[in-house]
Symmetry: D2
Subunit: 472 residues, 4 copies
């Protein structure tokens, strides 16, 4: 009944996200750790600013303490990457965060992390689900939090300074120090402020912060940094002459950027900028990993520097694995998360932001200029996206036509190849492509198109939908 | 297991305030209404701004609809007195509000109302508790909200204008209109703003509002209008030269007042002012009802105008009943709630506030002046209060000494009489008194003392605690 | 040296807007009033929320008191239309407001009003300028404010309730009361809040207010309600599901509207909506007056109802005069001010807003729908505007080519007629037109084009600029 | 006519603080610099966030440029100590700040600095006054700002990083880093935020900031950190469990502190804490300098460590001079300013705050504990202050009685000695004292009393006022 998605377990507070379920999830992980004989290494527990996150993290700690598993309890609200970093730096086998990431405010959830600060993969969550199924209420062991503290089985830890030091050590402080950059930060009422501000102020940026009070309603918006939700950041960057605006999602693993002109920068562009920057200005060498619905501009950049771009299915775990396998220096997705070699194996919006600020300082070019430069050099790439809710009937029909009959839409562009590794992806000879895949977590068909211009991308998407009889 | 207190059912969100319990409460009331054959009169459902209140009120409506009980669903967040007023004006037998009143932000709850807009009494809640005990999950009938709307069994209602009109009709608009009063309102992130502002602006006060954004954390404070929580209101009234500052609790049934000097006015003083005002300036005649731990200044005022003051045990239901019985014109408690004859039978912070504004306008005296006047006329009354957490052992000991052995503390003041109707109350010959009672809802001993001066009151309380070996 | 523009005298605070100049302006008006023998009728003085407005208004009152002219001093910060209304209702011959309207925050100024609440015309301001030129410092008579109060020559007045009552009396309260409209008000840190909120709440709208604290920097923006400055209002109207967003300029004589979709509504559209509404729904009959650079949609509407549209040069005084002359029911300008017959003779953003709210209530259509309706009925009108700073040389050249040689640009559209009454206006046969005129107050050439589509309007403007060798 | 006080020239904006006067002050300093042949060293110009400060600083730069004096123009709003620091670090002979320090919002002014970052003394300002008296309008030379920039005679400078580095270099970073202190900063809408936040975040405090938007009204309060104006800081420190609350005045040369209990700490206590800390924990040795109306607790501390406390008349210049003369390690006044050896010679609220944070970290004791410790060790010192506005007549009478007749009040305490160096100061044998002096800048008699208890201090002040027939 209790199901984990790609980002962990998520549910509506008061409905399914309730104490009885929360402690079940905790107990299942304690059981798994015992089975794997890693329970004596202890666990890391952290939480974000959502409603019930603080209470829930304590309920969870009480279960681990009850099971005799040592708890490293991060006392302050923390970004998910900081919690993942702690799993890595404490050399724990498991960790977890109470967070529902960028979900709406009435949700909360639990993200599970494994060795090295990595999102738990399907194998792990499947095991947890099956343990939960067999759990009886009386199997759940708990010890009151205060008693756990007294006995020392729960200890509060403060990894903040370490995490921040690590990020600072990875960027070029001297180059940034004298640029007097003006940065506007929008934590979207989430948890990035303390870490991001500390990093940026230490390197002497002038930092202002908006949307930072503790608001469990996230100001009435989704805590997801999109073009729509970052309106205030956009206006203020323009009016206040900031060099960059940085928005982070609810748990700070993803980011959205507003450039110095007040324009929203897509995740595709952020990744491309960073990969280009690492290669060209920092002299790094190595491949890049992207999922199937992320821009092919990355392929062009890789090629230009004699590197390779690897394509993997959707899901950050695929990115992480392929990076380890290939020694890639950067990996990410068009949905907004990315990671850099040498840091944690998960997404980190704070580190990515710091790197962008370094890029502006080192290159002496602001983001808009850099993007224009990339466009001039590698041509223009425009991505269009459609998310379509389908009836169960239509879904069945489409799956048959797309994946069994392998029916293709009629197209104007010569096709280079078609792949069915994750949904259907058609590669066109002009470098453009279209992806159609069914979402794992929501009942949606997602269609992504990349073409040299906005018009072509939209036109191709429309043709596709029309061909299969899908209407918005 | 599920227990109702004096203010309804309250529990921690995600712990006990969860969907499975919420719909049980709803089902139990539906069952009761069917037993009493009043289900065909329908029910009124309203909710406040707390976390989960909107969702919970819909879950509840789904149960009543599933049981075939017509639902009058108040679509906007509403003050409790407005919901009670709607129960009265719609002539329903029952109504309910999703609210935890002035409890901390992690609580939510359900208040049940009966005919005429009255808090459900013990008889009703005892019946509900026993129905709940026998309920099986499969007994709970629900119908999706949207379907309920479509079928017409759920209809959304807008009693706002009626409620506001009623309050305006009960105050002297012309007298207030030309006084250009400056009023500062502090809804404490709760629900009073719309109604209070509409009433006050209609009578042409200049109104400013603080602490009004939708914040389910209530700005980190208890949404209870006390001297401690109204600090900002106090500062701003003083700095902004307001004539009065009005704070209301989370669901606006109670109020706290800051006078024009920036001083917090106690509930005892508010009640005394209003009773005096009704008698002296509006020419009303009739008794007053107060509980045992409310100021005896009311008795003095009553006496001066040839009226009587009735004393009842703690609990607003006792106030309401005695008022009906005696035709009292005002009734209230030192804990902050009061009601006036002719309006709903429950507490209404909005109406009380409007009446105070009328008082300032009609008398031409501001609150501080009026209080000084009362003091000069009837002498000085100072109340001191102690709330003491006890061990179970100490509680037993005290109950024995106080109520069985009827041991009295040694006192300096000649005793007039001792009463054990609700806890122990000693009446002194000088007009002072002391009350010691065990709280029904919390594990506390409450001690109230009233004496002519602060020093005497504190001294008496200290002696009492020392005598019985109680230490803070 | 001291020069009045169309909106009165304006200057930079601390530079030219300084006490010595301010009291000169006051003295000159006192002299004029004496010459005209109207000094015994007294004067009305009001002020807005700008830096120095309160002090300056007192310095001015001290001059009138020193000259023996009775001062009606409006004690609270006030909208300009309220001050004009007071000049009318007190039957004074003159009044003035300390305000720089929608100018940047470092400006302040003085607006002079004449009988009936009208902006002083050129004749009056020319007289004042010439009196000022001959004034010696020792001619300026003053009396300390407090002494003026004591002697009764300065009295504080409170016309707020009267003004608000008048507006309420002119709108259909009953129709609005039950529509439960949600209105978001943006005073742009100016003076509209109290009046606008009182009107709207009295008619039972649900009102929220943004940008209202006392901020003499106007939040860093121009207090002028344009598409650019109302970004926050736009976002919040969309996110909060408001029926209308109302922005008013610094002194509340002009307004900007955001419709229920979050789209900025131009002043041309506002005027057209109101004229259509008055004719069609309120059954009024009468002409409309607009200036040369205001939409001809008004002409179409007038024609449809058998009425006339009068065209006048730029400047609100021309609107007022022509309205009096023709009995027009509405008059206004594309720059954002309008007035309705029967009210004051100047612009009133508060009354216009109230009328729009009435329109929504009475028609049951929201603004976007109404505009679509007008477009379907009368065709589409799109206005494009360019403001160009010129060198003195270029200005001379252009004036010669435009007004002396009467050179026309080459055009694609057949020309109907050309007028030189105020700048140059070319009327095309398709109903479109272009106006080129030099601003009186700023060193700018203003070009306005109206055509059926955006593309045509922009194209025509571009051609015009190219033809005359003007570059942005 | 134009008069300098102890804090420079101050006047009401629009009244006397106007361009014509501002450029006179600038011209007079240019003349002085030429006379002293230091004009070729250039000048430093900075400004704060007050209304007109930015414009005025440009007007001033235009005068120096017009006079051929090189201008180092600090482009961003800056704390006064940062500007003084720049005068020192650039080795300029003169510098100035456009600021009115902690004066009300309708004031602005100019502070003049001399070599080494020192407040100009009386000799300098007297010279300026006499030059101004003889200035003719035509003597004032100006060059447009943009031209000055183009010609290089005006250059913009950024001393921010240097200033911040210097402060950081003077505190013990490692000791603070791991204490995870929570600090709440209240810049009072002034200029301390950037510097204070950068220092504190660099040493890894958790910093929150209130009252920071650009508000030229200072939120309606005096930007002076007193018990009355820091109400919000006090409340929030208590509610948010901060370790310390730091308020700085309008130009950040003075500070006010709220301790971890939410109690306001007087300037006397701040100085005593810091002196004790430097001696006891940092092992510094050297005297302390205080003015006559600053606590004698400093004398006790000095004595305990074998050091001396020097007493000087009121005025920070006396503090600075005596410190240079005696090699004192700290100097300050009960009115809120202090400086430490080795830093600039003027007051610096930012550095003082950083040092207090270091003190908490190094000692492991929070402020309240430290104060209790001092009290236990050196006894209790309570200061009471009265500021009395007098008629000219009464002032004359008092001056005669106090300074000519040398009349003493009747006292209960045995007198040790009486001094007339600056006003009258009576030293009592019990260590207490009373000072009566007439303010130089305002028409006030100031009476300061220090005694072991509050009651004694107030009583003594009352007796004094009564004796001389002075009434509040």
């Amino acid at each position: 009944m209790l199901k984990f998605g790609t980002g962990g377990w998520r549910a509506i507070i008061g409905d399914e996200f309730i104490r009885t379920n929360i402690i079940k999830v905790a107990q299942s992980l304690a059981v798994l750790m015992k089975r794997e004989k890693v329970d004596h290494h202890g666990i890391v527990i952290g939480y974000d600013k959502r409603f019930l996150s603080d209470k829930a993290s304590r309920w969870i700690a009480e279960v681990f303490a009850g099971n005799g598993v040592a708890v490293n309890f991060i006392e302050k609200v923390s970004p998910t990457p900081l919690i993942m970093y702690t799993v890595k730096s404490f050399a724990c086998d498991y960790g977890l965060a109470v967070t529902a990431s960028h979900n709406p405010a009435d949700y909360n959830g639990i993200k599970i992390f494994t060795k090295g600060g990595k999102d738990a993969d399907l194998m792990v969550t499947a095991k947890l689900e099956s343990i939960i199924e067999e759990l009886h209420e009386e199997d759940i062991l708990t010890m009151p939090f205060e008693e756990g503290i007294k006995r020392g089985i729960i200890r509060t830890v403060s990894p903040f300074n370490d995490y921040v030091d690590t990020i600072i050590s990875m960027i070029d402080v001297e180059k940034i120090r004298n640029r007097e950059l003006k940065v506007l930060v929008d934590p979207m009422y989430g948890v990035s402020k303390a870490a991001l501000q500390t990093v940026l102020i230490t390197v002497r940026c002038e930092v202002d912060v908006i949307n930072d009070r503790h608001d469990t309603r996230f100001g009435g918006r989704m805590p997801s940094p999109t073009k729509e939700t970052l309106g205030k950041l956009r206006d203020m960057v323009r009016e206040g002459n900031y060099d960059i605006g940085i928005g982070t999602d609810g748990d700070a693993d993803r980011l959205g950027i507003i450039d110095e002109e007040g324009t929203y920068v897509t995740s595709n562009d952020i990744m491309s900028l960073l990969y280009y920057y690492l290669l060209k200005y920092k002299g790094w060498r190595g491949p890049v990993v992207r999922n199937i619905s992320t821009t092919h501009l990355l392929d062009k950049i890789a090629e230009d520097f004699g590197q390779r771009c690897y394509e993997v299915p959707v899901g950050f775990k695929h990115i992480s694995s392929k990076m380890t396998e290939t020694g890639a220096i950067i990996g990410g997705e068009s949905s907004g998360g990315l990671t850099i070699k040498g840091h944690i194996k998960g997404k980190d919006g704070i580190f990515a932001a710091a790197l962008l600020v370094e890029m502006i300082s080192v290159t002496g070019k602001r983001i808009h200029e850099m993007l224009t430069h990339l466009q001039e050099k590698y041509g223009s790439f425009y991505m269009h996206e459609e998310n379509l809710a389908l009836t169960a009937e239509k879904e069945l029909e489409l799956k048959e036509r797309l994946f069994e009959k392998k029916e293709l839409p009629e197209e104007f562009y010569p096709v280079e190849k078609v792949s069915y590794e994750d949904g259907m992806k058609i590669y066109y000879k002009n470098g453009g492509w279209i992806v159609a895949r069914f979402s794992g977590t929501e009942k949606l068909l997602r269609v992504f198109v990349e073409m040299p211009t906005r018009r072509e991308a939209k036109k191709l998407a429309e043709n596709f939908l029309e061909h299969y009889g899908i209407y918005n």
